[in-house]
């Protein structure tokens, strides 16, 4: 069974998330969208080990605020902005995060609550059997400013 080796809980507002990104990365990467900024700012609290690492984002609603913003454009008859659509795609968030850590070898996003987090820990075991020793699991709730992260060592057996 997977074992937690690092853990951090973060409740951060948009300004603090951006401040953390500026502090750690030298600048706030452009056009990420609030949900990805929150996820990345929280994940930076974890010391990601070398070797093959997995990434699982878990969120009940995902980047819902970004989706709402882009959807409103559709309803208003305005052309949708490409970056608005991109910011509503969790797969793009995964790629942004993978760009920060070259050791991230595989990544996925689950939409769900605490039960999905427990399931993600089980997935870390399956990934460990395929050579991904550590997996970063983040639980993101934009409305609550929550970006909680654990680094788990998967059980290969």
């Amino acid at each position: 069974m997977s074992r937690i080796v690092q853990q951090c809980r973060n409740v951060i507002d948009e300004a603090e998330a951006r401040a953390r990104l500026r502090d750690r990365l030298g600048a706030v990467p452009r056009r990420l969208g609030g949900w990805t900024e929150l996820a990345l700012a929280g994940a930076l609290s974890i010391e990601v080990p070398l070797g093959s690492v997995g990434l699982i984002l878990v969120s009940a609603l995902g980047p819902v605020n970004e989706t709402l913003g882009a959807l409103q454009d559709v309803f208003d008859g305005a052309p949708m902005m490409p970056f608005g659509f991109m910011q509503s795609q969790p797969a793009v968030s995964l790629s942004v995060m993978a760009a920060q850590w070259p050791q991230i070898a595989r990544a996925t996003c689950m939409l769900g609550d605490d039960d999905a987090v427990r399931y993600a820990m089980q997935m870390a075991d399956a990934w460990a059997r395929e050579g991904v020793r550590y997996t970063l699991v983040g639980q993101i709730d934009a409305d609550a400013g929550r970006s909680d992260w654990v680094l788990v060592a998967g059980d290969e057996n």
């Binding site: 709402l68 608005g84 795609q89 968030s93 609550d113 399956a126």
Partner: protein
């Protein structure tokens, strides 16, 4: 992991048998949405009515095995419901609650595991099923890929200038973009070793060239294929057919072709279904696996609809006529937003 059941509702018909017939005869119809070609399911009514009809058809075609776990992949979830009412409140309902409703309509009471990884969502769900079955945490898993037409997704892809104004032309010299489509597909899986189709190995890779671009060297594609072959205990010469990603994209197909050439040298017969089914995004993995395996069960590798003229720069030509399948393993390839690359080896055991 064995595939014990499969069903598909798509632009190619309301059942898998219809889709196989169309794949093998080349008959297909293209609809239009807001001026864009679109592969639409032949169902009437609004988003909710069509969803309900599709799920009822699937439930009849493939009754859920008792005690199944439920994994679902989608990129749009209930967004079509927001389009329908021109209101956004529907998004306040969590995708997992929406998915629980889908599970119930498909005869499953287990809590849904919801995967949202753009165009490989359904395959992420399948991968997780493989892990769950291997760890003996489930005896059966029902894997669903679901994607229905909605203005949000269409306009998003249009905004990114990824859509073609003409029907999909996979690997064709004149290819100029994607043709979206809609489908709902079911794959029932268990850990049995008996007769039937087995996913004997899968591999993933991350293409880091950018969220919507693809590494033209093909390295990530080759890495995913090699991982899948290694886990399946296979070598490239074992593979008898490749189900391409084949989206008709000028951007991804050079990467796909380069990756396949790097692994195979001479690439086995390869087919794309996106000109028949459309690009069904999160549903495309389960939908195309269902169709591929059903066509091979009939003994045929279909022709690739929409392909006419080879692009010498790609060095890869998909099937131009249906070919007899020799029973050798199949490789399935898929790519998605965010640099996701997935490959899997499917083998039919007697």
């Amino acid at each position: 992991m064995r595939i014990t059941g499969r069903a598909l509702v798509s632009a190619a018909g309301l059942c898998l048998a219809d889709a196989v017939q169309r794949a093998l005869t080349g008959e297909h119809e293209i609809a239009h949405r807001e001026g864009w070609p679109f592969a639409a399911m032949p169902l009437a009514g609004d988003w909710a009515a069509r969803m309900s009809q599709a799920l009822a058809l699937l439930s009849t075609a493939a009754p859920a095995p008792a005690g199944s776990a439920f994994h679902i992949g989608s990129s749009s979830w209930q967004i079509g419901g927001a389009d329908l009412a021109e209101r956004v409140g529907v998004l306040a309902e969590s995708p997992s609650r929406f998915a629980a409703g889908v599970a119930k309509q498909l005869g499953v009471t287990a809590p849904p595991r919801c995967f949202s990884v753009a165009c490989v969502s359904g395959l992420a769900a399948l991968d997780a099923a493989q892990g769950e079955l291997a760890a003996n945490r489930a005896q059966q898993v029902r894997v669903v890929g679901l994607e229905l037409d909605n203005a949000y997704t269409r306009q998003g892809f249009a905004a990114l200038q990824l859509l073609s104004s003409s029907p999909c032309k996979p690997f064709d010299l004149q290819r100029d973009g994607l043709m979206l489509g809609e489908a709902v597909a079911v794959l029932d899986c268990d850990a049995g070793e008996g007769a039937g189709w087995h996913l004997t190995g899968s591999g993933t890779a991350l293409d880091r060239s950018g969220p919507t671009s693809a590494d033209a060297s093909g390295e990530p594609v080759a890495a995913a294929i090699r991982a899948a072959l290694r886990r399946a205990g296979r070598v490239p010469t074992d593979i008898g057919v490749v189900k391409l990603h084949g989206a008709g994209s000028p951007m991804t197909e050079p990467a796909e072709a380069a990756g396949l050439r790097a692994v195979f040298g001479e690439v086995p017969p390869c087919v794309s279904f996106k000109s028949l089914l459309g690009y069904t995004l999160g549903a495309s993995g389960p939908a195309e696996i269902a169709l591929l395996t059903a066509c091979l069960d009939e003994g045929w590798i279909p022709a690739t609809i929409g392909f006419e003229v080879s692009d010498s720069a790609l060095g890869l030509t998909p099937t131009t006529m249906k070919l007899r399948w020799d029973g050798c393993p199949a490789l399935v390839l898929a790519m998605g937003f965010g640099g996701q690359v997935w490959a899997g080896v499917l083998e039919r055991r007697a």
